[in-house]
């Protein structure tokens, strides 16, 4: 399902500047996009416009050719699932299984479908063995995975993750990578807000970069990292392998360690 944002502007009640300024972009079905930018650049604010938690003060938001204006968040939830930054704002049930079932149940899935969705999501994030536990007995990263599982179980065509990898270790991040590949295989769009440039370089082809509420860059991640001035003005830094390959004048510059090693071995031969 396509997302189209046209000239979206927004200012919080107690703010003295526009927190989003004429943001326009289109995200196609099945795309994987990173939403990046400095702290306070408006990433979360933009994400909240995609499911009606915030209503645009100017401009329009379309989800699959359907204008969302005056539609309640609960209605948007069947199309757009949003992971909140802090898992503890989200967890509200006494059992892990119930927690994951909360979203799809609200969306009115049949009970057999519900069971399948929950089982799949639990397996995807390696939580099956904890399905009877109380979410509050879990550790932070387990709760984070639980929140991720609850969002993917909603089976929406669009998923927005706000800082999904914060607090996860290598193994857990690879679970998440597996999950987003799985989602893309089903033709779902994934938008991921993150500060982790290594992750973006390796796994996300397109980046939208916000700077003080305005779109500063929208395009391929490779080209973004080449633009040093823009990067530093957005308080961003390319991954270390990229910096290293720039230093060694490799073309194209490597985004992943594998690319770096293969270019290096070619130049040595």
């Amino acid at each position: 399902m396509q997302i189209r944002i046209e000239n979206l502007s927004f200012r919080y009640l107690k703010s003295n500047r526009d927190n989003l300024q004429k943001v326009s972009c289109t995200i196609e079905a099945g795309e994987r996009v990173a939403l990046i930018g400095h702290n306070g650049s408006g990433k979360t604010t933009l994400a909240k416009h995609l499911n009606g938690l915030l209503q645009p003060q100017q401009g329009r938001v379309f989800i699959g050719n359907h204008l969302i204006a005056g539609e309640s968040t609960a209605q948007c939830a069947s199309k757009v699932a949003l992971l909140f930054q802090n898992p503890d704002d989200q967890i509200c049930m006494r059992r892990v299984y119930e927690e994951v079932a909360f979203g799809p149940k609200n969306l009115g899935h049949s009970s057999s479908r519900l069971h399948i969705l929950v089982k799949e999501a639990l397996t995807l994030f390696d939580l099956s063995h904890l399905s009877e536990s109380n979410p509050y007995d879990l550790g932070y990263s387990e709760r984070k995975r639980l929140a991720l599982a609850s969002i993917t179980a909603m089976d929406t065509p669009i998923l927005v993750f706000d800082e999904p990898t914060a607090g996860l270790d290598e193994r857990e991040i690879s679970l998440f990578i597996g999950a987003i590949h799985n989602l893309q295989a089903q033709g779902k769009s994934v938008i991921m807000i993150t500060h982790d440039m290594d992750f973006v370089a390796e796994h996300i082809p397109r980046a939208i970069c916000l700077k003080s509420g305005a779109v500063a860059y929208d395009g391929l991640v490779q080209n973004l990292f080449n633009n040093e001035e823009l990067l530093s003005s957005c308080s961003l830094r390319p991954p270390q392998v990229f910096q290293l390959s720039r230093h060694l004048h490799h073309t194209p510059r490597a985004l992943t360690p594998e690319q770096f090693v293969s270019t290096l071995s070619r130049s040595v031969q």
Binding site: L53, A77, D89
Partner: protein, 259 residues
Amino acid sequence: MPETHSTLFIPGDSRYHRLHPFNKLAYILLTGVTVYLGPGKSLAAACLIILNAGFAVEAAIFIPLWRVLWRTLLPLALYMGIIHGFFNPANHTVLISLGNMSVYQEGIQFTFTVVLQLSAVLSASLLFAFCTHPADLITAVSQAGWPPALAYLLGSPLLLLPAMRERARTIQAAQRARGLETHGRLSQRFRAVFPLITPLILGAIVEIEQRAIALEVRSFNIPGKKTSWRKVTDSVVQGFFRWGMVTVIIMIVTYRFIN
């Protein structure tokens, strides 16, 4: 974020703001006692409301105070007005006849008195909450030589409530994002309350633990007298008025017992 976001306090430098917190507390107590136990119920309440309105104008908080007041009391007034206007057992003077039902004067009068009394107490309490920084209350209590634990107990709800309200909003937003209908029909709103309770209470318990640790690492329980960075000004005149109010409170209570 500015301080106003996390407490009810509205900064200002009026006379009412600068009053000693105990004077404002004594005034709330005096209002309550006068209105509920003193003679001349509605008249006394009306006078106190006018006085409070004057204070609110002086402290430049009339608009926010008025907003909270009518939002709280109007629904109550309507609800009570209907119930008592029609069904109060003391009803016998008909005001308006609607078919075979009638609205009676006694019920309306009763509602009027109750709302007036509540307005007086609520406006005095809101004056206190809007014009007293919780830290000043805490400082005043510990300067008076009472245990700091008591000061914390008194002050923390004022600091915590707005933070809890903010958290409840975030939690509800997260649940709406997962398809829970929290607006709309009354039954839907009611059902939406249950999933809110667990994260709110458990979150608060976790926070209490963190607060305890934070207090401990700042030597909250260390014996000996502590000095305070904040100063709460007091004066002989204020002390005089304070004890004056306490005396009147005692007099009214005694009067009530004798009669």
